[in-house]
Symmetry: C2
Subunit: 494 residues, 2 copies
């Protein structure tokens, strides 16, 4: 794909100057409009060393209000970043709705230069391609505008530019050994770049290859593309939200495993006090040892607790954390999103809460709010929750490919048991803080939630992140089952 362009495309200085003044004004006004329309924009630049990414960005931001954009230089992965999934550092810098992020290099490092430098296995490269495709798809589905530029220059031109930089004392330090190696093995890097552009030229986030021998020509092309893309995004936004599809989106490339629906579990399962104490003590001891091993082998563990109100999530979590070294885990209570969280794609806050490798994150409620409370209460559109199953499956697959053990618990009680517990809370002063009007209101929607939960189980029970339905009418039984399942999952991995 890279060879389809005339690298020597030019524009005369006069033609450039007159056009450019107009482009700058247009872009300035468009930035105000996308801010009002709350459209988030990502503009990323890939391309050869010395192809002019930095000065291109300087040119672009001349027309932008500095309060509305941020520029991020994406370097090689640092040791700290290496302890998180590949996309983690990009989720962190996702712009808020209405803001612009401009990236000098991007996640495409991973499938281009980095790929040649650490000679990574083909399988790993394929995983990265898949992650990137899903990432961009999730963003654009959420209303992000992703504009991708590749600045193309020839081997000869690159060499000329490196030499010019080395000629001047002030710029000599900017040319590195890596740069010269890229030039020496230009053809090899060319093939990697070409494959990258070819394979990730999605309809929802197409590449714009910019012949960059003539700087004026390149600047005017970049401006023209950005202006056009912003205009289209504004028009699409004005046309209104997407219509809901007739069925949830299927995860074509993540296999979903069958799982019994909630009615099929035997809620009479119970443990007497003595068996409970013995099993708990044994389980906690084993879990403590395993935590140590996870830490030393740098395996991250992600536990996700969902369940009916008063099903005993807090108590089950506490029985687990008591067995853990407190320096190695974190409990993340998930409540309604804050205003800043609402101004990002809904998975953003969970990406930001991931544990380091070797650490444990325990989510007390989770991203599944999207297909439960947000669906029932209408906090998101039908179209949004319908595609969320697929988005969540991909999110969890990213975690699994990073190396995480992911386990999801549904704590299941029946309606009578919930009533007992609600009443107990209501009439025991020390427990009253645990029950609110909202709990009673949710209870009235039991059947609606039941439908949602069953659908959620069916659509998101995967090999890499399985659901465990826990019969929780008896707390003893439930706590022991949770801890045993965690142990089993860790043992299976180690």
């Amino acid at each position: 794909m890279l060879d389809q362009f005339d690298l020597n495309s030019k524009i005369s200085p006069e033609e450039f100057t007159s056009g450019f003044e107009q482009q700058k004004v247009e872009l300035m006004l468009l930035q105000q409009q996308i801010r009002s329309a709350k459209i988030p924009v990502i503009i990323l630049f890939e391309g050869w060393g010395a192809s002019g990414k930095g000065s291109m960005i300087s040119n672009l931001i001349m027309s932008l209000d500095p309060r509305g954009f941020k520029v991020h230089a994406i370097g090689p992965v640092t040791p700290e970043e290496q302890r998180y999934p590949m996309l983690h550092r990009f989720w962190r810098i996702l712009p808020e709705y209405g803001q612009v992020a401009i990236l000098d290099r991007s996640w495409y490092r991973e499938v281009s230069t980095a790929r040649l430098e650490d000679k990574r296995a083909r399988k790993r490269v394929e995983e990265r391609f898949a992650e990137i495709g899903n990432f961009e798809r999730q963003l654009t589905d959420d209303g992000y505008l992703v504009i991708k530029f590749f600045l193309q220059i020839s081997k000869k031109e690159q060499k000329k530019r490196f030499e010019a930089l080395e000629d001047k004392k002030a710029t000599r330090w900017r040319v590195t050994e890596d740069d010269w190696r890229h030039n020496q093995f230009y053809d090899e890097y060319y093939r990697a770049f070409d494959e990258m552009v070819e394979r990730t030229d999605y309809g929802f986030a197409p590449w714009r290859v910019i012949p960059a021998h003539d700087r004026r020509y390149a600047v005017s092309r970049v401006y023209a593309h950005v202006i056009e893309a912003l205009q289209q995004a504004l028009a699409a936004k004005q046309a209104g939200p997407l219509p809901a599809p007739t069925a949830p989106r299927e995860s074509s490339d993540v296999e979903v495993e069958p799982i019994p629906s909630l009615g099929e579990y035997d809620l009479s399962k119970a443990l007497d006090k003595e068996d409970y104490r013995r099993a708990l003590r044994k389980g906690q001891k084993r879990l403590f040892e395993l935590h140590n091993k996870l830490y030393r082998k740098r395996v991250p563990l992600i536990l996700c607790f969902e369940g009916w109100d008063a099903a005993g999530k807090g108590g089950a979590i506490k029985r687990i954390t008591r067995a853990l070294d407190p320096r190695g885990y974190e409990v993340i209570p998930v409540a309604a999103p804050t205003p800043v969280e609402k101004n990002h794609q809904y998975l953003w806050r969970f990406w930001n809460a991931l544990p380091k490798d070797g650490h444990i994150a325990i989510f007390d409620r989770s991203w599944y709010g999207r297909v439960m409370v947000e669906r029932v209460e209408g906090f998101c559109t039908e179209e949004q929750w319908m595609r969320a199953y697929d988005e969540i499956n991909h999110f969890e697959r990213d975690l699994a490919e990073w190396g995480a053990i992911v386990l999801k618990f549904w704590l299941h009680i029946d309606k009578d048991e919930q009533l007992n517990r609600f009443n107990d809370r209501q009439y025991t002063p020390a427990k009253q803080w645990k029950i609110t009007g909202e709990d009673w209101r949710n209870r009235e929607k039991w059947d609606e939630y039941l439908t949602c939960v069953n659908e959620m189980l069916q659509r998101t029970n995967t090999d890499c992140a399985p659901w465990v339905v826990v019969e929780a009418n008896d707390k003893n039984y439930a706590r022991v089952k949770v801890i045993s399942q965690v142990i089993e999952a860790i043992e299976a991995r180690l």
Copy 2:
């Protein structure tokens, strides 16, 4: 101070068990209360290797709701953290109001073990002591409860514990060479710990030295201290907010320089178009070169823009950023704090926005909101803004000691000029978004703001972070003055 305790203090198993059950219940209930009262709590543990910090923390959190606390293990400074001021990594993990942070090691690493390990200069150690004192004072003034424990064991006891750990295969890896070195040079480390405890045993954040040979005794003492401290904090909160002092707090250890008040500047200063263009072009060229040098020498630059509404902050910032490599700076627009920001001490969000060394942060409005809009509008109490000058002076001194160049601009126009610009914005369609009802309301409080600004200039004009009042009735003059001052400050440093 460390030698005043009987390291062999003991408690019988029976006495311990009965007391402990009660302590656990008390702590559990207190956590609910401090959460409702929105009191943030920091509990930090310092002490010798193998003195039992980790298991002490495990014991402590047995009684805590995992949704209300986080444990942080504070390791040696990473290369990434080294690029920020010493306290940066601690500001980042400050708990929200009502939450508990438990620290295994803390900022005291810097003035104890780290101090011996990197053989740092005495001056640097003294700076760190001062920073720590001010940090804890700012936190406790803001309502944070800071509880500090030092777990004390003897050289002999430590040696015994290391040997016991090494005896078992499962725990052998936990004893490091560093640990043995600490034991070998116990006396030297003892002196450093002792000085640390002695010098930082503040009334507002006292040390609790815990003799830790007997683990049961240590646990019961730690519980007792935490319970007592929480009870006192709750009682203090119920007693109501602090009364306002009669005058702002003086910065006893940061020198304030005299500066003319706003009435003394000549607002007729102006530059014609041609001189402006020439000076601007020259200034931008020079600034570009200097940015490069800052980057290579890893000097951080912090610019802070305050001024009347419509005084031209945005325009001045833009003239600076155009000269900069976009990968090396960030503009931080400061608006009203978000709910999460409101749940932290007010400087928290600015600590979180600091640039890496070698980078530039440009604040469009800043922490000075505390002594301007928050004071005028009553968003903080009189007592709060009165101590803010001192807090800000210390904040800026921390930045300067880290190595940052800090410059603060007040863009000054007169009331007539503001009216002209407001009218221009109001009646020019492309500029209408820039003016709101709030601007007009602020204008009515011109005189109140004038008093605040003058007081702010007098109280926070320091050598390490000077104010520059910019005569801004003429935009050309103002922009050139801003850029020249930035250049001058960088040149003076390099």
